[in-house]
Amino acid sequence: MPEGSGVESALWDDWHVVAEIAELTRLGRIATQLLGFSLVVELDNRSVIPSVDLESGGVAPAKVKYGYVWVCLGTPNRDIVDFPECADRDRWIVNAGSFGVAVSGLRAVENFLDMSHLAFVHAGYLGEEPHTEVPKYKVATLPDGGIVATDCKFYQPLASPVATEGFDVDYVYRIVRPYTIMLHKANPIDPSRSDMIALFVQPVSEERCVVHMLLAYLKDELTEAAVRQFAQMIFNQDKPILENQLPKRLPLNPRAEVPIRADAASAAYRRWLHEGDIRYGAIPHDLGV
């Protein structure tokens, strides 16, 4: 960690998405922020590897993967998260959008993990009253670190752009990095296979983030534009809720906010962040409730 960055190595020395490559190709140059530091990503016409200039005058390593530009501000200590689904030929790999939100990225990850808001915030699409019950599901830790929630079932009236009627959808959530979460969801046409949605959350600052969404959908009758539109409509329902959370950073003390059984995954996520001493975007225990 460079002196004075103040950011824990688990984040500083890891890769983070900062832009869509399509957007960068179109614009040639994108100025953004990561972990509180300003940077400029530039695409030279001879190279597909963007260069990253830091406001401090230094440069940082960059890579392109899954249609996104990834940057590491420190010394990379691990690879970019692996998504085997992205190699499947019968899937659309869609950059479904990048959404700025005025809240800690950890709150955005937690919201994505949360089944009990679906019937309210996404009423008519991902849930609907009176189907509000969240049945018991399982939560475990992943061998490489992280949290997995399995056996998640939730009634959805219109789970995807191709769904025509409501049914119980099976989900598996995996949090693989503090700011990265993916969801596997049974495909409405072929329930033996699943669609994948990943969120790469860019911590712009402790209280601001950009949520980059990646979809790996089976190629049903679906156009890429329809997938993008659906994702954006859904995210627009989450944004005002996220921006009305107080405090904006995620409290890790279990007494700060009251969890119930349906929040087992969120409680495990907070515990895992606490145990890993992740502080960026969080309110650690020792700072009180």
Partner: protein, 230 residues
């Protein structure tokens, strides 16, 4: 005791009563704390900390059903008066634990305003007493300036003086004749709301012109105070 600790124990007006209408929720701020104000169908006004105990979403974006407030995020219900959580849709068959309650602030309706108190033991008898037989509330004016500065300029440059012994939060015009009363709401360290009332009943026919005149005057003072604060 510091001014801030002292202020926590006081009552402040935060809204005109008529603005807290049924089936609505209003957000306000006092001494840096956000509150959600809502009136149930029987007329009771609730003033709660503006965060859902569950995941911190502002209760002011929730739904007032007339007997409870429902949070927008996961639809939890909180009963009027007690703040008790009465229903958790994710577990519809279970009674929510008694410990799940909103944080309630002291709340009273007096002189046409909603008064709140952030302290742990709000005593409604301690709402300031104004010598008024009748009154008409004016439009409240938001000011981008700290409360001390607002009070100081009103006293030094605009002919106001403290109306009670309880400090500079309640001021009245000096001199003889009908007095105007200004009530200051310190929102936070930078912002203040000036609430106003005149100590008489205004005939309906005169209401509009009286309100206009008062509002014009307070707005001018506000502009002068903001210029001084800038």
């Amino acid at each position: 005791m510091s001014d801030a600790e002292e202020a926590i124990r006081l009552w402040f007006p935060v809204s005109r009563c008529e603005e807290i209408v049924p089936r609505n929720v209003v957000q306000t701020e006092l001494l840096g704390q956000e509150a959600a104000l809502w009136r149930d169908d029987l007329g009771f006004v609730n003033a709660w900390e503006n965060r859902c105990p569950h995941r911190g979403v502002r209760l002011s974006i929730g739904l007032n059903t007339g007997s409870e407030l429902r949070c927008q995020y996961h639809g939890w219900w909180y009963a009027s008066i007690t703040g008790q959580c009465t229903y958790i849709p994710a577990h519809p068959g279970q009674k929510p634990p008694n410990v799940i309650k909103t944080k309630r602030y002291g709340c009273a309706e007096q002189y046409g305003f909603i008064w709140i108190n952030l302290g742990d033991q709000p005593d409604a008898a301690a709402v300031p007493v104004l010598q008024l037989d009748s009154y008409t509330t004016m439009r409240s004016v938001f000011t981008q300036a700290p409360v001390d500065l607002v009070a100081q300029s009103l006293i030094e440059a605009h002919n106001f003086e403290p109306a009670t012994s309880a400090g500079n939060y309640i001021l009245e015009t000096t001199g003889p004749g009908e007095k105007s009363v200004l009530l200051l709401q310190p929102m936070n360290a930078e912002q203040t709301v000036i609430h106003g009332l005149i100590p008489s009943l205004v005939r309906d026919a005169d209401r509009l012109s009286v309100l206009r005149q008062f509002n014009g005057r307070v707005s001018e003072m506000r502009d002068a105070i903001e210029r001084a604060a800038a």
